[in-house]
Symmetry: C2
Subunit: 201 residues, 2 copies
DNA sequence: AACGTAAGTCAACGCGCATTGACATCGCTC
DNA sequence: GAGCGATGTCAATGCGCGTTGACTTACGTT
């Protein structure tokens, strides 16, 4: 009966004893699930399953669902890349991204979806406010620069969020003419805000 | 011990037998709760309590939680006034409205909060999608008119929603220069979408 | 005044799910 | 290689909440 010896196939791979790797996996799964489903509809068992981990572990490492959520919230917040955007291509890039949805910059879209979902939960909403102020509005402000930056950042952020929501609600992909016009118009809108203030020569 | 007999006080006022009034009360409470808490966190028992009604009633009249939700969704959706907007003043009017926020009517903000919450829940998102299609995107499309209307309506709706969210999140009122720039930029954005297609002579 | 039906009330039932605590096992240290 | 703490597993437990069905009571009809 030593079949096991000849075929040491890990049955379900009893999981290596590596606390860091485990908690990282949990966090990753949590981020994904929360972003996809939101807080309430995310179920711990599924997170555990996706991470290939026992449910109890997620509890041990993060101290419950809320703990995991806050951890995930902190972890999936890196809007620093905003600063890397190129002013000249920004408008059309963002417009295209909004038109086609997922397949542009998966991670970025992902994390924003997450944030948006966070806004719906009364407990997490305050967290979100602070987060948005410091890590979203702030960077955009810096990126825009100049005296008018604060107001422009607000407008940009608002529009951005709006498109994200629209994409969230949209049922089928945009194609053909509708897609083209969508991108064209959206580009025009974003350009209107990226535009430098003193345009008059 | 027959104190009860001497004090026939209506314990909890056994509710008048008026189906219409009752279901109306339920609907009202539902709208409020859904707007405040979102779909998942809203609990039927609380809705019933707020309406001063037994839980079973809400089930009888609306056929369950989802039923109440869709009813509430329909009820708190009246963007009909959009059609009354004047094309030429639309952009700046809407921009100003978004800037000053607070003094826009309470009910609208309320119902919008409701919609936003709906957008973030996978089960309710489809419902919202239908509602938005019929009652929001549709009217805007008609209002815009022309071949490009569908795509433009999407862009407009998205931006609109974004500003509403921003206003929801915004902590303090916009004043002075920031307000001015905000309005100015927002106006430019809205103009970019209201703009007729064939601009070339 | 008797009666039937719609309106309202009450008390479960059952499911889904987060959480917990007892138990097994790995891997490091001496 | 013996022992101990950290890591991982398993099987409850308990609660929140949507839903249901049987029962009661008011109101309009005849």
């Amino acid at each position: 009966m030593n079949v096991r010896a000849s075929a040491p196939r890990d049955r379900a791979a009893p999981r290596k004893r590596d606390a860091d790797a485990t908690s990282a996996a949990i966090l990753e799964a949590g981020k994904a699930q929360f972003a996809r489903l939101g807080y309430d509809r995310t179920v711990m068992r599924d997170v555990a399953a996706e991470a290939g981990v026992d449910v109890a572990l997620i509890n041990r490492y993060f101290g419950g669902k809320e703990g995991l959520f806050t951890a995930a919230l902190k972890a999936s917040f890196h809007p620093d890349r905003i600063l890397a955007w190129d002013r000249r291509t920004f408008a059309s890039e963002i417009a295209t991204m909004m038109a086609d949805g997922a397949h542009v910059d998966e991670e970025r879209a992902h994390s924003f979806q997450f944030l948006l979902r966070a806004a719906t939960s009364p407990t997490t909403a305050p967290l979100l406010n602070v987060a948005i102020q410091e890590r979203f509005l702030g960077p955009i402000r810096d990126w825009l620069g100049g005296e008018e930056a604060p107001a422009r950042a607000r407008v940009l952020a608002a529009t951005f969020i709006g498109f994200l929501v629209e994409r969230l609600i949209r049922d089928k992909a945009l194609v053909g003419r509708e897609r083209k016009v969508f991108i064209q118009r959206a580009t025009a809108m974003f350009e209107a805000i990226v535009q430098e203030p003193e345009q008059t020569t």
